[in-house]
């Protein structure tokens, strides 16, 4: 697990054949990193470690050339448990004597706590524990900041008791938006200042580039804040036995949560067991244990009874993270023949109280030889951001891809052609020069009209396109495989299934490797008692876990071969496992069934451990998304009519669940573009839509036709795909709206008021 920079990299790197071509934010293979530190000096700390040589096992067990299960459409093995309600999520765990916990939170965006009075709550019926999370004198920095906590025997009584906690606040100045925080006259609310410069870049000579430019666009682009809205709210069921804690957590990482609980409670990590068998939605906010988990565990410790603490929907919106805003005032140039010249941007963004937007890889993807950039993180009094599905990329993609369409118009080039001309070098992880023309053909891009639908009537249609990249490599995961004398196979790995199908692909790869049907394998995951794995974030789960599973299964199989070989009178290295049998490689008749093979174990069990090795996974993926929209210019309503998503992710493990992730990413991007919006009252700083009624999300009638072209690149090994497909559709939609209406669309979400205003502005003189 990579940690501090001075630690040597674990496992070493196995460069993919094309190197790091598709790294976000710049032009591969050399230079052009979007946010490389200024000055070009080699950053200190981590050095490039030589890649560890693959082991003999890894050399012997690459991904099979003719797989039986890999890349096919294998049904989710836990599907029946999910559709019948048998699957037990953290919310569903009910323990004997269990209490319900609740957090008392600040209604104000910034205040000093004058006093907290728990006495009435402690006397309320059923209450077993209550404590101050913050002490009087401390500040609350955002609406929803934690103040106190209480636990009682029923949820209704817990809520009653929570309302009996009397807290007196002294209101302090607050910022509800970036504009207020950036006001030079604003009081200092945050330590270190209300804003802070971020990574800058200065490459080439932008002035020279602008001089070469035939056209220059100067404009401001902006994306808004959205929240994660995990359907299963952040939650814990905590149960102590002496000084040992068992915690069922709705988490994307059982091990990160184990560490978080241990450090948050001040107890040895070895005393904490975290279990996550089923998890109801995680988009980055559940990579940390979170204060809510620590509070639940503390209440349980105090009450000496199990405690379930599940946040309600309002708490979810207020205090379990968000995707930061991002804006950029941009000046960009292009030559008459459509070559990008210079890109200058002053960007900003807020991740809430004391947190910025993080790295914003602009300009995204494309090669501007001259770039100059400043960035300002802005702090406002809202809940703090947590990583959300491809952090920085949806924002950076929008800020860049909308500009690209505007530049293409200036030089009267088709947006697809313009993108191809300025796309980075074609490598397996940056396939834009292939995907763009292929997608254009499939989508019927030739039917696209020039900017502004010339047809009469209020409904204007338009086409849009956008491209994206993401990392998604892996490392480090460990696994354990047992093969028992009765033929049972158990694969254990401490990874977790956040809905992407991890449990299924753990079983699938094990079965593939052992030549068994998937039903013959039991996959056990989601428990810190199993071998170590990372959190499910950064699209790293499959590329981390699948090599570990493959090699652990192979190691177990080799051990079985050793047992079986003497009974067949052959040497172990001649054996293979296919179709439920173990047999001599070139003579399928000379062998035994799996069950008979396992009988040779007698009283023994094969029990092996192994871990991820380089060579079976790689990093970086690319994709392109096309969309057609209809815009009602009399109401400003945008309807997405159809979408085409082209996506690669290296070796496809399970085509069915892989496609589901791509559908999901696309829909999530559509929500970002059209519907979602965390709205803070500009005066009070309090959120006005902390529910699922006014925080809008698409429903079935809003979902267009979506086609997926999934590129299988088995030679690259496994690459994660959870995040990339969620990056670019929002920009493509904005481009399509612009193509339909002829009006400049430079910020999200595409609310009717914005569309109508853009059309008005365009009519009044235009921005093109």
């Amino acid at each position: 697990m990579p940690n501090f920079d001075q630690q040597p990299p674990a496992g070493g790197g196995a460069p993919t054949p094309q190197g790091r071509g598709g790294a976000p934010g710049g032009a591969p293979p050399a230079g052009g990193r979007g946010a490389a530190p200024a000055g070009g000096a080699a950053p200190q700390g981590r050095g490039a470690a030589p890649p560890a040589p693959p082991s003999a096992l890894a050399l012997k067990y690459p991904w099979p050339a003719k797989p039986v299960l890999l890349g096919t459409r294998v049904k989710r093995i836990d599907g029946p448990d999910k559709v019948t309600g048998r699957a037990k999520y953290t919310h569903d765990i009910n323990r004997p004597g269990m209490l319900y916990g609740r957090i008392i939170r600040s209604p104000l965006p910034h205040a000093r706590i004058v006093s907290i009075d728990l006495s009435a709550a402690l006397k309320a019926p059923g209450v077993k524990a209550a404590y101050n999370v913050k002490e009087p004198g401390a500040q609350v920095m955002y609406q929803g900041d934690t103040v106190a906590a209480v636990a009682a025997d029923t949820e209704e009584r817990t809520k009653d008791a929570a309302r009996l906690v009397k807290v007196e606040y002294e209101a302090l100045p607050h910022f509800a938006n970036e504009e207020q925080a950036m006001d030079p006259d604003a009081p200092v609310v945050f330590m270190g200042g209300n804003t802070r410069p971020g990574t800058a870049q200065d490459v080439g000579d932008i002035e020279a580039g602008f001089k070469q430019s035939a056209h220059i666009i100067e404009a401001t682009y902006y994306t808004h804040v959205i929240t994660h809205v995990c359907l299963e709210s952040h939650s814990i069921v905590a149960e102590w036995e002496g000084d040992k804690l068992t915690a069922w957590c709705s988490t994307q990482g059982v091990f990160p949560s184990q560490q978080g609980l241990a450090m948050g409670l001040g107890i040895p990590a070895a005393n904490v067991r975290v279990i996550t068998q089923y998890m109801g939605g995680g988009f980055g906010s559940k990579l940390q244990a979170g204060a809510e988990a620590v509070i639940g565990a503390k209440l349980s410790q105090m009450a000496k009874l199990p405690v379930k603490l599940t946040l309600d929907r309002k708490e979810e919106h207020l205090d379990t993270g968000n995707r930061p805003s991002a804006g950029a005032k941009v000046k960009a140039g292009v030559t008459a023949d459509g070559t990008l010249t210079s890109y200058q941007a002053d960007s900003w963004g807020t991740g809430g109280a004391g947190q910025g937007v993080g790295n914003l890889p602009i300009p995204y993807i494309y090669t501007f030889p001259n770039r100059k950039r400043t960035h300002k993180d802005v702090y406002i009094n809202s809940g703090t951001q947590r990583p959300m599905r491809a952090p920085g990329h949806p924002q950076a993609c929008f800020l860049t891809e909308v500009l690209m369409d505007e530049l293409a118009d200036r030089v009267k080039m088709d947006p697809v052609e313009f993108r191809i001309k300025n796309a980075p070098v074609q490598v397996p992880s940056a396939m834009y020069r292939t995907y763009l023309p292929e997608g254009a053909k499939l989508f019927g891009w030739d039917k696209r009209h020039a900017t502004g639908d010339p047809t009469p009537g209020p409904i204007k249609t338009g086409f849009g396109v956008s491209v994206h990249t993401w990392g998604g490599g892996g490392s480090g995961t460990q696994a354990h495989c047992d093969i028992m004398a009765d033929g049972t196979v158990v694969m254990k790995c401490g990874t977790q299934d956040i809905g992407t199908g991890t449990r299924t692909i753990v079983a699938l790869v094990t079965a593939e490797t052992l030549g068994l049907p998937i039903t013959a394998v039991r996959a056990e995951i989601g428990d810190t008692n199993y071998p170590r794995s990372g959190g499910s974030g950064g699209s790293t789960t499959a590329p981390s876990a699948m090599p570990a599973i493959r090699l652990t299964a192979a190691k177990a199989l080799e051990a079985l071969f050793v047992k079986v070989a003497p009974t067949l009178g052959v040497s172990a290295d001649t054996l293979v496992a296919t179709n439920g049998r173990i047999h001599v490689k070139d003579d399928p008749t000379k062998g035994v069934t799996w069950k008979d093979a396992c009988k040779t174990l007698g009283a023994d069990t094969i029990s092996v451990d192994h871990m991820w090795e380089a060579g079976l996974s790689s990093v970086n993926s690319s994709g392109a998304q096309f969309t057609e929209v209809a815009v009602d210019i009399e109401t400003g309503i945008v309807k997405v009519k159809r979408i085409l998503a082209i996506q690669d992710c290296g070796l496809v493990v399970d085509r069915l669940t892989c496609e589901s992730q791509i559908y999901g990413g696309v829909i999530s991007s559509m929500n970002f573009a059209l519907y979602e919006d965390r709205i803070l009252d500009r005066v009070t700083g309090q959120m006005v839509n902390p529910n699922m009624e006014m925080y809008l999300l698409a429903g079935m009638s809003d979902i267009p036709k979506i086609d997926i072209i999934l590129k299988d690149m088995p030679e690259r090994g496994v690459v994660g795909v959870g995040e990339p497909p969620t990056v670019s559709l929002s920009a493509a939609i904005a481009n399509a709206v612009r193509n339909a209406t002829g009006a400049a669309i430079r910020s999200l979400p595409l609310h009717p008021h914005k569309i109508l205003a853009a059309i008005e502005q365009q009519k009044a003189g235009g921005t093109l």
């Binding site: 009399e634 400003g636 309503i637 006005v688 809008l696 079935m700 009717p752």
Partner: protein
């Protein structure tokens, strides 16, 4: 949700009696609005009186019109053949209410009497006029979904009921009962623009009164058009909508009823639009003129100016639908 006592009366008499309580007693119909408010501590009754078993849940023909019980489920209203034959705009509004689950639970009476959807009203932190406070947060705040008509204040909510709008347009009367008797109130007189005196409510219903029936007069021969502009097609509240009923004399519009929804603190009758229609023949130009007329008196807040355009379009398209013209 605060703990409450529960009463399940079997008839109107028991129901109105049960509403008289030393504490705060409130009726619960389908519960889709009140339970959410209670969970958010916007409303905290000491007693809930279930009126689903006490009130009429049938749709009955009377005098060429219909008498609709307040306990009729919205789904049953939406799917009722008599309603769709006589009052197509009511069917059109009903099928767009909420979601299948909400229509299966929600009642006609509950829809008419639901509380504002305003996000300031619905969040406990904002102690606004409607919660007994002394300010409306909308003018200086996030008012993109607030009123563009009837904006004299003190409150700038839009009335949340989808059904109230066509009920008003069709000249409905509401039958109301209390322990002391019963009365009929025309829909046109039922809803109240906010004043400092009445701002805690949206209509004339007293706390111990129950709305029991919607009585619709015979519709006569008319053309009907209803148009909702929604941001999302799935579950969402309209940005604005219009219901139009036109009586024809040959090719000429002899009388018009135009009522707008989601634009004012009450279902908003547009006499301007009606005047623009009467005496005209049906055409897209007439429809557009009605749309323009409808918004002439609009007084939008800082961030809902776009609703003027949206409302104009809703009126135009509702008229076009009534005329049998393609709307888009």
């Amino acid at each position: 949700m605060k703990a409450f006592a529960y009463v399940n009366p079997a008839n109107e008499k028991e129901a109105v009696a049960a509403l008289r309580d030393a504490g705060v007693a409130m009726p619960i119909g389908g519960g889709q609005d009140i339970l959410a408010r209670m969970k958010d501590y916007i409303t905290a009754p000491d007693r809930l009186v279930n009126i689903k078993n006490a009130l009429d849940a049938t749709i009955t023909p009377v005098a060429g019109g219909l008498r609709i019980g307040a306990a009729v489920k919205i789904v049953d209203l939406a799917e009722n053949a008599q309603v769709s034959r006589l009052y197509p705009n009511i069917s059109a509004a009903a099928i767009e209410v909420g979601t299948p689950q909400i229509r299966n639970q929600g009642t006609v009476g509950g829809n008419i009497n639901q509380r504002p959807r305003c996000w300031y009203f619905k969040n406990e932190e904002f102690l606004c006029y409607k919660k007994g406070g002394n300010r409306c947060f909308a003018p200086a705040g996030e008012n993109q979904y607030h009123a563009i008509f009837g904006n004299d204040g003190p409150s700038h909510i839009v009335h949340p009921s989808s059904l109230a709008v066509p009920f008003l347009a069709y000249g409905a009367k509401f039958r109301v009962v209390s322990a002391s008797g019963e009365r009929e109130v025309a829909a046109a007189n039922f809803f109240t623009l906010p004043t400092l005196q009445n701002v805690l409510k949206e209509n004339v219903l007293a706390d111990d009164e129950l709305l029991t029936h919607v009585i619709l007069p015979a519709p006569g021969t008319a053309r009907h058009g209803h148009y909702e502009v929604r941001y999302k097609e799935s579950h969402d509240w309209p940005l604005a909508f219009a219901t139009v009923i036109l009586k024809m004399s040959g090719q000429t519009i002899s009388s018009a009823s135009v009522v707008l929804g989601a634009v004012a603190p009450i279902p908003w009758r547009s006499e301007e639009a009606e005047r623009a229609l009467v005496g005209k023949t049906l055409s897209e130009a007439t429809a557009a003129a009605a749309g323009e007329a409808a918004v002439r008196g609009a007084a939008p807040l800082s961030r809902n100016g776009y609703k003027v355009q949206v409302t104009k379009t809703a009126v135009k398209r509702a008229v076009m639908r009534a005329a049998g013209l393609r709307t888009v």
